[in-house]
Symmetry: C2
Subunit: 277 residues, 2 copies
Amino acid sequence: MLSRHQLIDQIKRKKTFLCIGLDPDIEKIPAFLHQYADPVLEFNKRIIDATKDLCVAYKPNAAFYESKGIKGLQSLIDTYKYLPKECLSIIDAKRGDIGNTSDQYAQAFFNEEVTGMGFDAITITPYMGNDSVTPYLKYEGKWVIILALTSSVGSKDFQYLNTEHGHLYEAVIQKANTWAGADRIMYVVGATKSEEFTNIRKYAPDNFLLVPGVGAQGGSLEDVCKYGITKDCGLLVNSSRGIIYASNGEDFADAARAEALKLQVQMEEELEKASVI
Amino acid sequence: MLSRHQLIDQIKRKKTFLCIGLDPDIEKIPAFLHQYADPVLEFNKRIIDATKDLCVAYKPNAAFYESKGIKGLQSLIDTYKYLPKECLSIIDAKRGDIGNTSDQYAQAFFNEEVTGMGFDAITITPYMGNDSVTPYLKYEGKWVIILALTSSVGSKDFQYLNTEHGHLYEAVIQKANTWAGADRIMYVVGATKSEEFTNIRKYAPDNFLLVPGVGAQGGSLEDVCKYGITKDCGLLVNSSRGIIYASNGEDFADAARAEALKLQVQMEEELEKASVI
């Protein structure tokens, strides 16, 4: 469990707002790891050990584990258990269903006693509205991170539609703000959409934004900060592929650390520029 | 694998377009089943045995299995394996993510060799646009069932927003129609929205509609058929709780059959009325 206050405190102390996406594709991880009983877990552990002082959050994407069946789910559970408790643990699951079903998903990812996983936060897709979000909020202190404006090409299909409440992604933020405050809800906003950050800050002045798309997808950290940073930072910038696949040799963890460090150094500058630290 | 032609053929032969939702909540299943190694699997097997001549599809909702961790995933895999091959097998997963991640989800539910599950169809949430759908279509013959207008209260939050292409749910259908035809794409339309079916048929004259919300959620089968049935039927009407929890005693499978039979009889009438059979 990590409160907003604790998260901000950690950002200031570590001088970073980096989130590392743990999306290990078995075909891309270094070959020598295949000698281990669980190569994916071994990969994640070494990435975590090499980067935990440089980031404030880890975000495994459920798909990369589910695609391996039972074995993959076991890797996810064991990865969750290995995450440093001071970091925000986010399960990137993008779930969204009716109320009684969302209760089940909330149990899957939040109730450690039953499933072995007790993540601090979950990503949620908003299409089905409030009952796809509120069941998660019943777990005191847990976070819901709602998709607003995503980073990939498909985001153009619906998220920019004009509605009576602005673009669809703006309508989503305005409505979701009525469900809980900035101490429980974050929004996903892609780094490739930096021109929209000013606009998003109108609706979500205090909410943390989880920002994918820096690195592999082409977003700029500088632009994201220029328009998105707040006095409390208010940003978690995620990098997955750019860090975890920095090398596919035996030095992959060192290479991951080097990439994470580059981002941390830039982030420290941005935090100073914005007088957060 | 079940083609559109085979699905229609089965509907005509069995005189039913019932889909049964296998959403077993461990707290609601009959107590005597707890003596079995896997009570959920035992529950599902008996429901399937008692209803397979009365329905054309089964739809486990992933949440009800994920909420039990590793054990739950094993129940889902074993349930998948027990499904009659002539019925359409739908995993109600409501996934939706960027392209490279959707590839992973597609493998999770479609690639039996890797995960033990090779469902015929998956439900998808459209918020992230085309790259959250197209990766599934790479699996030849598999179906994608896209959320359009859902049955619960939260559907009012965003799905009815007015956009330049009509309500959001209409915009979703129009756009998704450009990704694949009625032989690969179905839409979810809640039974509680029967007044919208005429409208939906304007955009999706031939697509099958997966219709939840009859029974526990209050939708009327008659109204759904009045406005939604086509010459090929074009409907899969789902019931979950109304059938699987018809009794919580030792007679639960018989009671489930009785409820399924009631629906089958009504469906046969509707198929005749619409001259499908």
